[in-house]
Symmetry: C2
């Protein structure tokens, strides 16, 4: 059990899982919730602080006063623009300090992590806290990809890595060799649902998620959980492939059970670097 | 005025424009329309033949009997899968002959064009017929991109070309440095409308369309027309950039007028190869 953990909570299943894991272990948590991004239910019954991205600097003092030494960033923040942040004075100073944040997500996340570490926090990855959530090589559950699914997985990895090299998305959906959809800022669930409208008859598509070649491991690794599996199954996908060692699988047991119940595969794949 | 022109008509503005251009010039046309892909209004009052993709081979005899020597492919066909085609015997033979069509669009289109030429047709590009629709370098209309728009254009070209190298889409939408959306099979209009939901406040995004590095010039060059410009303006985009010499601008005068009326820019850009 570590020291009080500060969770910078975005959307999705991961922040909830982190909170529950800590509470079960008796570890104190302090949640920083972002207006418009964080699901309000996550802060119930735990220490927390709501802020908007443009005032995020104020969270640093709050975290320090609350005795937080270790921080984890978890869940998606749909990227705002700098102009959209309407920064307060301190946040503006912070932005000036991290300098040009570059145009992609990754440069910005790395700059934020470096800044937080300079402020005296230790920033850890969600897998450092949860231990067993980094995807491993091999099938989760009983269903295995067939030859056609393997071809789709290979094609998806090629496209997703090309996108990742441009610091764009991490996810693509491939069906029978065709790229049905590519994720940018809309999020994986939106991608899956959109592709349900675009799919062809015959064998369903495959969702492929890999990390970007330059990705900061402690922020925003591609993540799936039981909800992803359920959405995928409902949208006619036949499986999900994630990068072994480069993606997070939240609640592995539920992922396996959901995949088996739906008859779709979930697999971790070694991706040559 | 050339010989009777066969138009293999997909969706969008280009097939209509080709038909009208020929009719104005007194040139005969014969339209091959595809069930579920071609807008029925285009065949009114002209020689035509409806087919489904799985029976497309039959169109070859129809075209020959109609005295067509020159063919043009125009407009989008949302890619079907081979399995989806339910090919008839002749079409199956054709497919066997063109062999493995590869996994991307481009390989298939090139194979189809080669096959049609072996059958004795001359396949030309829409710009061979219409003359002045290949995008040129420079601004169409009065609005010019500012420095921030130029940065978005540059970022968009980089991403679109990386995607194109994977034989995926040709279009991306960039706003203030962020890739809002990437086109796969959903089509440009669907991309634009989706990104309207995802955009940030402040200066609007830019639609960037470039051809794929290996693109067959005679099929499926990225295309915009007045409808694209109107949709873009309605969705809050501030401009459209297309590859000079690598994209088609259907109805240039209307594109300029629409862009000027909406206060957005349309520009052709030289893309280093």
């Amino acid at each position: 059990m570590g020291p009080k953990l500060g969770i910078l909570a975005g959307s999705g299943e991961l922040p909830v899982r982190l909170r529950d894991h800590c509470l079960m272990q008796g570890r104190d948590v302090f949640i920083i919730a972002f207006n418009g991004h964080t699901d309000p239910s996550i802060v119930e019954g735990v220490e927390h602080f709501w802020t908007r991205l443009g005032s995020a600097y104020s969270a640093i003092k709050v975290l320090r006063d609350a005795g937080v030494g270790e921080l984890v960033m978890a869940g998606g923040i749909q990227r705002p623009t700098l102009k959209d942040l309407r920064p307060d004075f301190q946040t503006l100073k912070f932005m000036t300090k991290i300098g040009s944040v570059g145009l992609g997500d990754d440069g910005m996340l790395t700059a934020i992590i470096n800044y937080l570490e300079n402020e005296g926090f230790q920033v850890v990855g969600a897998d450092d806290v949860l231990g067993d959530i980094l995807a491993r090589d091999g099938v989760y559950g009983r269903v295995e990809p067939d030859a056609e699914a393997w071809a789709d997985i290979d094609r998806g990895i090629g496209v997703a890595r090309a996108l990742g090299a441009q610091d764009v998305g991490q996810s693509v959906i491939v069906q029978q060799g065709f790229i049905l959809g590519v994720e940018a800022v809309e999020g994986t669930d939106a991608l899956i649902k959109r592709c349900a409208e675009l799919k062809h008859s015959g064998a369903g598509g495959v969702l492929v998620k890999v990390k970007k070649p330059q990705q900061e491991r402690r922020a925003d690794l591609p993540t799936i959980g039981p909800v992803t599996v359920r959405t995928a199954a409902e949208s006619g996908l036949r499986g999900i492939a994630v990068e072994a060692g480069g993606a997070l699988i939240v609640d592995r047991d539920a992922v396996q059970a959901t995949a088996d119940a739906a008859g779709i595969f979930v697999i971790g794949i070694e991706v040559p670097q």
